[in-house]
Symmetry: C2
Subunit: 201 residues, 2 copies
């Protein structure tokens, strides 16, 4: 499009690289940024820059961290004997929101997917096994996604842990009906899991 000035084009291109942002939305956002007062628009630019310059990964659990360790690893009140294994840093948030978990985390950085070229050495599995084998861990909760790749990753890690740290309990999040769900709308996979995992009332 020759109607846009090159800097406007560049902004639209960069915005359209964000996930879920198509060409039209990118254009709409760009025009919004153009209309905004300069300091408001620059606040967004600065927030992006700041996040990339200050936020790294925790040296213990690979969660997001400002400095060498994340807030959870630095929090002495958290249970040191529990490690919850998740795929991505963003997965820590829903678990924290439950207020049901008070242990530590381990962020893998993805899930095993040989078809996409994600092999065990691409994830922080060695680091997890090392952490657990070093002792002090009582239980490892596998909280990878309930998808094929998440399940495969959980099974793979459970095997590795059973071999290297046989005394540590390895558990998996329960699968079943989402709270508030109608039976009528449940898919057969979920309902099957809910049946197999039924508990005494």
């Amino acid at each position: 499009m020759t109607v846009f000035a090159p800097p406007v084009n560049r902004l639209i291109t960069e915005l359209s690289r964000l996930p879920g942002i198509g060409q039209r939305t990118a254009q709409r956002l760009a025009f919004h940024i153009l209309r905004q007062p300069k300091d408001e628009a620059l606040a967004l630019a600065d927030a992006i820059r700041e996040v990339k310059e200050t936020v790294g990964l925790c040296e213990v659990c690979f969660n997001l961290a400002v400095g060498p360790r994340c807030r959870i690893c630095e929090d002495e009140r958290r249970e040191a004997g529990m490690i919850c294994v998740v795929e991505e840093p963003s997965d820590v948030i829903p678990i924290e929101r439950t207020n049901e978990y008070h242990g530590r985390y381990h962020v893998l950085g993805g899930a095993l997917s040989p078809i996409d070229g994600v092999d065990p050495e691409d994830l922080r599995i060695g680091e997890l096994v090392g952490r657990v084998a070093a002792g002090a861990t009582r239980e490892v909760v596998m909280a990878t996604n309930a998808t094929t790749t998440g399940e495969a990753t959980a099974l793979f890690i459970a095997d590795a842990l059973r071999e290297r740290a046989p005394d540590v309990a390895v558990t998996r999040l329960a699968s079943g009906l989402p709270v508030g769900a109608d039976l009528e709308y449940a898919d057969e996979m979920t309902l099957g899991r809910a049946l197999r995992g039924r508990r005494e009332l």
Copy 2:
């Protein structure tokens, strides 16, 4: 949320200020930016900064411009006697895309809306009337939106032009059925306009 590091929180806040971006989407975009290679994320930050530092408004028509005049005002091949009046710089694009218009533009910077405190002196109406009264203009096409405020703005400007430049034709975009539309789904306002604006075949 205390789980997020402050820079992450700031980025989420800034992203959620964009139109149509809620808290959840802002969070998803922020985590995407965190995962991106540093240079890709900074390319977005730089594009925002560049746009705010280099893109201003054309001194003639108030369209977006790098430098004092926009590309359209600088293009000698464009018809100087035609001015198409639009509300926002983003409205220039759909008109250019039609390839039907080869004149100049005038960007008002909004539409009259006394209820929101937008009065004639808040828009670039004086500048338009001045431009037209200076001569050389043959026709002014009112291309404000087909909304109440857009219509009111078109009528107000038509009146002002008739007074100050009575020899200049003031026209309005046709209203009617969108191309490809089913009669069944047309609202009565649109269909009424299409009837009133019927043309001989």
